[in-house]
Subunit: 394 residues, 2 copies
């Protein structure tokens, strides 16, 4: 989809600017305003070192019973593991934003992304709150999307329209990556907005279904950061009700677009791959096999090299903990069957290599044990990933 | 310890030669003979795609109720995911070995290590069984150790003596690595031998204690292979009984030596690191924190770069699932405290970097929650690892 067309739904205004957090002067402070308020939902990192802004957002969302008027996100510094001082910094910024936007404290949600263990440049950021608030405009998502980037190489946004009997409802999402190379910066943040009218519990459920099928089915390196968050907002600026199934589908599509953009971004990115599992004995088994194979270091290295080392796929499945019967299992890569009925097929290495070298490698396990399917998406592990993450903080 | 001195205990003879499995003509077929028989124990991979020789060894050990006369190991080919044909190949080799050595079928244990999904060169190997058997000699472990190597860069063996009232008892171990760079080749194989007299259940228990403190506390890449095995043999060729505690200690020391050699071997190896956890609320928590931190890709990349990015250590601990209270936690790297009582210390980046750049980085978490300690050892993730594993089969 053309990213020029990616605009906010009705009821949202946003801006981004440089508050001097990033040393290179790139935009690093973003604000999203809901002038008429919005129903809000969020999913927060399960990491016990949840960053100060995550702790505050969780509390605010609880106090407001699922409502918010403004979201601020900074990049370049995660404000995580910064102790009571870092917590006070985040509170001060939240108070300043509430005052500037004329809303209650708990109507402010926030997050930070960037290096862990560093304090925010508080004075600089406080000076930027008023200009940031004043610059907020309707329309393009791009300034907000750019200001939340860390080492992402491109902005990540997606939008869908859902027909109603009058003006269509819009669902727009924006994210920043835990891309190939920047998982510590990382801290995946996504924001999904709509002008539909939804109750807090409806928005929450819709977000969770979408996240389960998107951000929860990708992996960069298995590290859950201190700052991972998905926020969802519904502004109720479209009177007409959308069919909930259609709206859910739009949420899922936007979330999947964003998740795919995260996987495919990053210097050193070579190729994405998807592991599909069919016929597992249980839903948990279907997920276990797809996730274990997709996150195996050896599989991910082989994918980078376009190396048809399919034994690694079976070895990863075999250690997943899922119920498997090798004699019933079929393994396909692209259009080629490589293992069938308990033994390798007679596929030549050249033919297999062609499938492993496609830009998007499709791996499919048929377990033949039941009715449960699942999938997981990841990308090849590259030397650049290691290089960049070996030198990150210095 | 000087590896020249590394000899087999009394009652063991061994040899290695080239059976043409490896294309470069290096030794790839090894035999260990126990002429008077031996009590035997083994731990096998939990991978559901356990290789044919692993399945056969498991069955033989069960049938013999913990006794064996000969172990054969080949490198260069794992004979895994090779279906009924691969299983028949392994059986044929086992039968040939039993005939040559004049022992029962179930007195033969075996394993293979190397690439997954390929058949063994059966005819070549059968021709080599007689010469291999004839070449078996007492003394140096080196020929056996060399013939089980895959991409290991050096042989790995260790020995200890345990005093008795007459001749000392010897414990000797040999292993091949799932080193930094060769985890698919990998398939860690270790053999621990002693001339002590032990019942099968005693040997089994002694092996398991030693493995728990050594091979179960190291990680290269989290992939459990189709061929991982530890074998232990006791030949009862020393009449004097050793103190069981002393013998157990020798088993543990030999196993730890071997585990450390595995971590430190491999092209591209930069440095090892150890994560120690003290004061966890439970034994499971102590292991969860140490293992999660030691196996985090981001931590391992930082270690390679000597990058004092300690936020990654806390982030990994925070997602381990263990009970943690940031306000009670202290993180030390080497002699330096980096996080204490819920906040970062004032340590300069230079001082921290010096600790992260040592050849053996020591990371210590004090959780302040209970009495449980544990540890885990790993090595920095390197670009060479990714490069080699991207190109492995082609």
């Amino acid at each position: 989809m053309n990213q020029e067309e990616c605009i906010w739904p009705a009821g949202f205004r946003a801006a981004g600017l440089s508050a001097g957090i990033k040393s290179n002067g790139a935009p690093d402070f973003a604000m999203l305003r809901m002038d008429h308020g919005a129903v809000a939902a969020a999913m927060f990192t399960t990491n016990l070192f949840a960053a100060a802004p995550v702790q505050i957002s969780r509390q605010h969302l609880h106090n407001s019973r699922g409502h918010a008027s403004v979201l601020v996100v900074n990049s370049g510094c995660a404000n995580a593991t910064t102790g009571p001082h870092g917590y006070a910094d985040a509170q001060t910024i939240g108070d300043c934003v509430a005052q500037e936007c004329g809303c209650a404290h708990e109507a402010v949600l926030m997050n930070s992304t960037g290096i862990i263990g560093k304090r925010l440049p508080l004075a600089n950021m406080l000076k930027c709150v008023a200009p940031l608030s004043q610059r907020c405009v309707e329309g393009s998502v791009e300034p907000f999307a750019r200001a939340i980037m860390t080492t992402d190489t491109r902005v990540k946004m997606s939008t869908r329209l859902v027909a109603t009997h009058s003006a269509p409802i819009r669902v727009t999402g924006v994210t920043k990556g835990a891309g190939m190379i920047h998982p510590n910066m990382a801290t995946m943040i996504a924001v999904i907005t709509t002008d539909a009218a939804l109750e807090p519990h409806e928005l929450d459920a819709m977000m969770r279904v979408a996240v389960e099928q998107s951000f929860h089915r990708i992996s960069i390196d298995g590290d859950t950061s201190t700052n991972d968050c998905v926020f969802a907002f519904a502004s109720a600026q479209r009177a007409a009700a959308a069919d909930h199934k259609e709206l859910q589908r739009a949420f899922c599509e936007v979330a999947r677009d964003l998740a795919h953009m995260i996987v495919c971004d990053g210097e050193g990115f070579t190729r994405a791959f998807e592991v599909r599992v069919r016929g597992a004995a249980s839903a948990a088994d279907a997920l276990a096999v797809s996730k274990t194979v997709a996150t195996s270091m050896l599989v991910r290295c082989a994918i980078t090299g376009g190396d048809p080392n399919w034994g690694r796929l079976l070895a990863a499945a075999g250690r997943s903990g899922a119920k498997l019967d090798p004699s019933l299992l079929t393994l396909r890569v692209g259009d080629i069957s490589l293992y069938h009925n308990g033994q390798p097929t007679e596929t030549s290495k050249e033919i297999a290599a062609a499938e492993f070298s496609k830009p998007n490698v499709m791996i499919e396990f048929h377990l033949g044990l039941g009715l449960h399917d699942d999938f997981f998406i990841s990308s090849g592990m590259t030397q650049e990933y290691v290089k960049l993450n070996s030198e990150y903080s210095t």
